[in-house]
Amino acid sequence: MPDFDAVIVGSGAGGGALAFKLAKAGKKVLIIEAGGFYNTDEFTRFELQAYRNLWWQERFTSNFRVSGGKLRDEIALGMGRCVGGSTTIFTAVAQRAFAENIDAWYTETKTVNDLGEPISLSDLIPNYEQVESETGVSKYLNWDSGVRRLQEGFTRIGYPLEPVDAYINPTSCDHSGCLFGCPTGAKRGSLLAYVIPALYAGAEIYTNTYVERVLLRRIPEDNSGRVLEAYGVEYTDARGNSGKVSARIVVLSAGALETPQILLRSNIPDLAAHSSSAEQIGRNLAANTGTMVFGTFEETLNNWEMHPLSAHLIQFAREKDGGFLLEMSEVMEGPLGFSLVVTDEDGVPIVGEKLTSAMKQYPKMAGVFVSIHDANNGSVTLDGHGKEVFYKPVVREDLARVSKAKELAKQGMAAAGARDFYGSIFISHHVQGTCRMGEDKRVSVTNSNCEMHDVARLFVCDGSLIPRVLDVNPSLTIYALADRLSRHLLSVGNTGLWGGS
């Protein structure tokens, strides 16, 4: 008998939601999370502690090195490393993907619905509705001082802002920020919406536990041509002890940067005789490459008292309309985060008197977060020492979109009265695409039901699955994909997975 029905690696949008749904259905579930467990009453505005507890350390792409000096721009990858994953430190924007984004999944990888037809937005509507209800999505109308100020300017230039849909209970949000965990419980990330309910439903969790590899064994070739099967994982716990746990199914929900690394450490490309699908592991990384524009206003805004990103300008978000999204306001919620990312207008991090004078203006600043439709042209690989290497080219088209978006952001801010503009480094919180789903094995890692083409009983449930980059924040779509996978796993046709006949 395996130890668990399902072991789920990662507790973010994908892992948390799936764990809850399986546990609620009576399955014996283990969640393994690399980060620690921090609850609402432990979230602090002491930024340094929050970064240390809740975030992965600063990690950058290695574009210059990997490209042999051809690419000059790097992207900082800002992800959560705690129970709830990036949803614990995200800004709670809940946005359904556009219809053309989902249509592109079939074009890209032949992703299909339950009937074998090209997948479309209508297939995901029941999943979106379900997770929107569970996470309490509503329009966020309680704008902070920075957003109200920016709205004046953007309205003046003919582009009024709209409120975002957010995973926020507006009556309990008191503008105490998002990036360091929500101290009021108003934000419905995976932690509150799914992980804690999953634990009440009987799931177990190992925290501060790092999954080294998936345990695999040979099987007689199955109907899909697989000769490998997952039966558990090997991990290292917080004390450095290694252990193994067995399960009927293994689900990797560690995010688009970590999930492919676990698969590569599990040596799947070699074991699968370098099948085309195994060779796709870690490829096709997209990032919604982002940056920020900060402007200084006459009056004090104290814009760290905020629900960041409570408004957006979405009319240019679709690829065909420009491929950039503006969200606001964003000043990183504290002087440390702001000082880290702030650059001059050429994108060079500032030091010295330039930095200290910018920091003196910090209470008067508001900012716009810019993210773009970029290409699935990056990768996650391991070097000869097993160390992660992230590559996400910032290409000419990306730079053109960023430039247009920043120009519009500055126009709106200037019309609102801003002066003394600053930029930021390139940053991404929206990594996607490194284990794509689809029926075309030449360009995908899992099938349309998120099970690996090469390994039976091994599923992926996170942003890695998304076959083509979305034009909006991906978390709601990841939640929806988890809901979709749970329905598949719990369907009558899959009783065999759980030991039934």
Binding site: R52, D174, S176, W304, E305, V351, G352, E353, P363
Partner: protein, 169 residues
């Protein structure tokens, strides 16, 4: 040369020459205002000591990477101005740092070096014996859930070594 694990006052990890280089670095990244008492910079609050204590907790490989960056800082200073970094004027130091932060070859390593300096100041760090103004006061950062928030510095060797309790309000 100091080695990790000796003594109860900084530097714990940095050699004396690295320590004075880091002091010059934090001064260049976060200079004081005209009156260092009313407008302290990184060196006044002890950002170089924070830097040293943070190195204590880094794995050897990452610590060595920081050391390489420090050597590169001196190399660039010597290359551009014929003198080591700490002997440059403030303007020259800033020019060296900007060139390293702008160059694609060195950008991310120096972002990380700069980040260690910024953590030692804009986190609101201060040495255990320092009683003057700190970054939050200087930037006006405050408000609900921020004023009086407990700041636990006990992860830093400098606080652990002095058994000072490791927290500030």
């Amino acid at each position: 040369m100091r080695t990790d694990g000796e003594g109860d006052s900084p530097p714990f990890v940095l050699t004396p020459s690295e320590y004075s280089l880091v002091a010059a670095l934090v001064e260049a990244v976060i200079p004081p205002g005209g009156d260092p008492l009313s407008e302290p910079g990184g060196k006044e609050v002890g950002a170089h000591n924070y830097f040293d204590s943070r190195l204590c907790e880094l794995p050897g490989e990452e610590r060595e990477k920081v050391r390489r960056s420090l050597r590169a800082l001196n190399d660039r200073a010597t290359e551009n101005f014929g003198r080591k970094f700490e002997h440059l004027t403030i303007t020259e130091r800033e020019a060296v740092l900007r060139s390293l932060l702008a160059s694609p070859e060195t950008r991310t390593d120096f972002f990380e070096l700069r980040a260690l300096c910024l953590e030692g100041f804009y986190s609101d760090y201060r040495d255990p014996w320092y009683g003057g103004k700190t970054a939050w006061q200087l930037t006006g950062f405050g408000g609900k859930r921020i004023d009086g928030v407990k700041k636990d510095w006990s992860f830093l060797r400098i606080y652990a070594a002095r058994k000072s309790g490791g927290t500030t309000g």
